[in-house]
């Protein structure tokens, strides 16, 4: 374990801590968000805002109707709907956790066939987002989208299908090496009997194998809930989830000692996630200097945060979707059952320039190809939302607090200052200068093209 860092709460709730917590839990934040967080205690901010229960968003109208066709267009609408939840997330950690669950309990819309089912799965994640992981695992096991995606609906007495049983253990709860092939077969028998009708699932007793099963050393006439309970009695299970949380919200390479500490807390809380996330987000480990700026932003996070950083509340969702897909992340359609690999895999010689071109386009208000975006940030007005807007050096430092979590070197700061001034003297800087808009454009493009901007 990194010496001195643990789940113990940090002492100093300061700007640095606020920036780190905002950047890891939200899809972008603003100067006002930092002030808001610091206007209260760390406990209040984490427990009453980040982890608070929020009202459920109103779904697209067609999600109840399984006969509503045109799945490509519906999937896009659902994607836009989810972007909208992200953009309007407020101070809630919820949407980032929903994305975490989407990438954990993976389903792909192509196989699931109905985007309606993807909505209900998404709602399941949202309803249980900080809830009990064991109960969520039970619910996902009979979720219509999941039943179709991993063939649970074909799994029946006398003709078991092991697809879900295997992934449940290998990818969703324990990790490879912690079960046998027999455990998978027996678990598959216990998971039989579930079928899908439209957007709902139901239990068909005829198809259920009601014989004795032996799973991970326990024997009984088990059903799907028993399988999940048995799995959650294994010590590896809490560790597996905590490792996944670590990789997503701390750093890509897990620190096993800290994972163990976190897993201990998860078991102590009977797999209730909220108290564990509360501990985590306040911990000296999470806030240690070394963790800051060490995470590569995923495409959805990258694209949505740009909107939120510039206070764009009515973005072009179709354009966002095209960009995110170009950056190799298609919501509701992860590449395979293990989800997106993340981190370094997001960055290559195609996607990195594409990220730069995207930020350029937003700042310029013009799509690649020259057509205008439906929104345009007036940079002078935006700059004036910073109290320091008329002082070049403080302005740069304040903007960097929103855009860049990686500590900027002095040469970087000089480079940004020179870009903003564009040959003028520092005391000449003013947003009321005729060329201010152009200079701000150059500056914001340069800022968001910094490799540091890819890190959170």
């Amino acid at each position: 374990m990194r010496t001195g860092y643990s789940l113990n709460k940090i002492n100093d709730w300061d700007e640095k801590a606020a920036i780190h917590i905002l950047s890891r839990t939200l899809f972008g934040y603003t100067r006002q968000d930092i002030d808001f967080a610091l206007s209260m205690s760390l406990d209040e901010f984490v427990d009453n805002h980040l982890l608070a229960n929020k009202p459920e968003p109103i779904p697209p109208f067609w999600v109840y109707d399984p006969s509503s066709d045109n799945s490509t267009e519906r999937t896009r609408e659902l994607t836009y709907w989810w972007y909208d939840q992200m953009i309007r997330q407020g101070y809630s950690f919820r949407e980032k956790m929903v994305l975490f669950w989407h990438n954990h309990f993976v389903s792909e819309v192509d196989k699931v066939a109905l985007p309606q089912r993807m909505y209900w799965q998404n709602k399941l994640f949202r309803d249980n987002v900080f809830g009990n992981i064991r109960e969520l695992t039970k619910k996902i096991s009979i979720d219509p989208a999941m039943l179709i995606y991993l063939d649970g609906n074909k799994n029946r007495k006398g003709a078991p299908n092991e697809n879900y049983g295997r992934e449940l253990m290998e990818l969703f709860t324990m990790g490879i090496g912690n079960y046998t092939e027999t455990d998978i077969r027996e678990a598959a028998r216990a998971l039989t009997g579930w079928r899908v009708d439209g957007v709902t699932s139901y239990f068909d007793e005829e198809r259920f194998d009601d014989g004795l099963k032996t799973i991970l050393g326990e024997t009984g006439n088990f059903g799907y809930e028993d399988v999940v309970d048995i799995i959650f009695r294994q010590e590896v299970t809490a560790k597996y989830f905590c490792r996944e949380l670590y990789k997503e919200f701390i750093y890509i390479t897990p620190d096993e000692n800290f994972v163990n500490e976190l897993a201990g807390a998860l078991r102590q809380n009977n797999y209730e996630l909220k108290p564990v996330l509360s501990l985590l987000l306040k911990s000296s480990y999470f806030h240690s200097e070394e963790i800051r700026g060490s995470k590569i932003k995923n495409p959805v996070e990258f694209v949505v945060q740009v909107m939120r950083q510039f206070n764009i509340t009515t973005p072009d969702y179709n354009y966002m979707r095209q960009v995110v897909e170009g950056l190799e992340q298609k919501l509701f359609d992860p590449p395979n059952v293990s989800g997106w690999d993340g981190d370094k895999r997001w960055i290559n010689t195609t996607t990195l320039p594409a990220r730069n071109i995207f930020t350029d386009s937003v700042i310029r208000g013009e799509k690649p190809g020259g057509s205008e975006l439906t929104f345009k940030v007036k940079l002078v007005d935006y700059a004036r939302t910073y109290p320091s807007s008329e002082s070049a050096e403080s302005f740069i430092s304040d903007v960097a607090k929103i855009f860049i979590q990686f500590p900027l070197s002095d040469t970087r700061k000089t480079y940004l200052l020179n870009t903003l001034l564009d040959g003028a003297a520092v005391y000449d800087w003013s947003t009321f200068n005729q060329l201010a808009e152009n200079r701000l454009e150059l500056f914001f493009k340069a800022l968001s093209r910094l490799p540091e901007y890819q890190l959170s």
Partner: protein
């Protein structure tokens, strides 16, 4: 010597072309396809100027002798006495006087009534049609330049891959330079030095990332950034090696063309550049705004041509303007014009066959929407420039433009592969195969030093046939 080097050297030695011949039964295998193009310093270049928004063709090249013109545009017409006359019936907008000069020098061609069947009046759709060279009912996701570079670039083995195949000056990357087969064929940037600094940044990368896990992530991203801008250095070097010789208008287009001139003059071997200027969507009060737009266009392009001349590159470069559509024949209720169809475009350069191609727009024989009918398909212009300027062989036209189009006589000094040289051409020997004698014809456009050599397929020199200073002629 490997084939690649051999070809390069040949290219360097001849600067023009090669022919295959067979001496008796022995093939003196050279290269049937000439490859002079894109082999700097004498590679040919096409510079595209995109006029976004739909340029009003009728007020650009004005049919001043047509009473209809004056009748349908009472508030925005250009009066006959203001028109810069090119003939007794048609002339240029008064803001285009630099174009009039180029026209008088035989370096500017007006192609009248350029359009396509079933015209689309949406900016985005029609822009896509122009960029992709598709039919109006066919959705294509890549650009004609991208497909040309990917499929039909003359002898890719001779192309120096250290140089980008296409450059767009601007923050975006146009579909024009994309090919679905190979992805992005070009790169885009707004300014060579800024481009260089943004990622390579001498100041920026002098400090290594800190030795932390976050620092390790940053090092990785910087590495990818460096790879992805492999061209930044050579572009900066080219731009730094020469200076613009003339003053450009202080406009976006002026600055873009100034950069292109430096890159061409500085030895960058890139054959296609895309520049763009917006604002042509003149729905209201267009008289003043359109005049400014055209003035900026003409002054910028004319500065560019002048600069190229002083940089010694004018005979390699052709400029083509294009816009997604022209505008309605009649003015609208707010002193402007709405989206229309066919319009004239300009092709400019020292080797351009100057003049007016096509008829005056017919303001009486309109389509069912009351818009101008097209006379030339825009892809005929592309086909002509691809073949005669960029050296695309005719058999590649189907790959690039989806089918064959009749070319137009736009380029006077044609690319060697299209039957004309840049500075000289080498003709196929006759008879071929031969024994014991054959005739090799060559043609010089300007007096120059030549050396005519026969190589065997390994690249070894067989015989030097001729060498020395020659006057122009055959």
């Amino acid at each position: 010597m490997d084939r690649r080097k051999f070809i390069r050297q040949l290219g360097f030695l001849t600067g023009a072309g090669t022919v295959s011949m067979t001496l008796g039964n022995i093939p003196v295998k050279a290269f049937a396809r000439p490859f002079i193009n894109a082999k700097a310093p004498d590679g040919t270049v096409l510079v595209l100027v995109q006029l976004s928004g739909g340029n009003d063709g009728l007020n650009t090249v004005i049919p001043f002798a047509d009473a209809n013109y004056h009748n349908v545009r009472p508030g925005i017409r250009i009066r006959e006495n203001e028109v810069l006359k090119l003939s007794n019936s048609v002339g240029l907008h008064p803001s285009l006087s630099p174009f009039k000069d180029l026209y008088d020098e035989g370096q500017l061609a007006v192609v009248q009534n350029v359009g396509y069947p079933n015209p689309d009046r949406s900016h985005f759709r029609s822009t896509d049609i122009w960029l992709s060279a598709s039919d109006s009912d066919n959705y294509v996701e890549d650009g004609w330049v991208g497909r040309f570079l990917a499929n039909a670039f003359p002898d890719p083995e001779t192309y120096n891959s250290n140089h980008p195949m296409a450059i767009q000056i601007g923050a975006s990357q146009s579909m024009l330079l994309q090919c679905t087969c190979q992805g992005q064929m070009g790169i885009s940037f707004e300014d060579p030095n800024q481009f260089y600094q943004l990622i390579n940044g001498a100041t920026a990368d002098n400090d290594p990332p800190p030795n932390t896990i976050a620092g390790e992530q940053l090092r990785f991203i910087k590495q990818i950034a460096a790879q992805s801008i492999q061209y930044a250095q050579i572009i900066k070097d080219a731009a730094d090696s020469v200076q613009n010789r003339v003053q450009y208008p202080n406009s976006s287009l002026g600055r873009q063309l100034a950069i292109v001139a430096e890159l061409i003059g500085g030895g960058l071997e890139t054959p296609v550049y895309l520049t763009s200027v917006g604002g042509f969507d003149t729905h209201s009060g267009q008289l003043g705004s359109h005049a400014n737009l055209l003035q900026n266009l003409a002054n910028s392009v004319s500065a560019f041509m002048q600069d190229l001349k002083l940089l010694g590159a004018a005979d390699r470069v052709v400029v083509m303007t294009f816009s997604e559509f022209g505008r309605r024949v009649e003015q609208n209720g707010s002193g402007g014009t709405d989206h229309g169809t066919a319009a004239p475009l300009f092709v400019i350069g020292q080797n351009v066959a100057g003049g007016i191609l096509g008829k005056n727009p017919d303001l009486e024989d309109l389509d069912t929407n009351g818009d101008l009918k097209y006379e030339f398909d825009f892809r005929q212009v592309y086909a002509s420039l691809l073949q005669d300027q960029l050296g695309m062989s005719a058999d590649k036209m189907g790959d690039v433009l989806f089918r064959n189009f009749e070319t137009l006589p736009l380029i006077s000094v044609k690319h060697a592969s299209a039957g004309g040289p840049i500075s000289f051409s080498l003709r196929q020997n006759y008879p071929n195969p031969f024994n014991p004698a054959t005739t090799i014809n060559y043609q010089l456009r300007i007096p120059q030093f030549i050396r005519l050599v026969v190589f065997d397929p390994t690249g070894a020199e067989v015989v030097t046939i001729d060498k020395g200073w020659k006057d122009d002629g055959s």
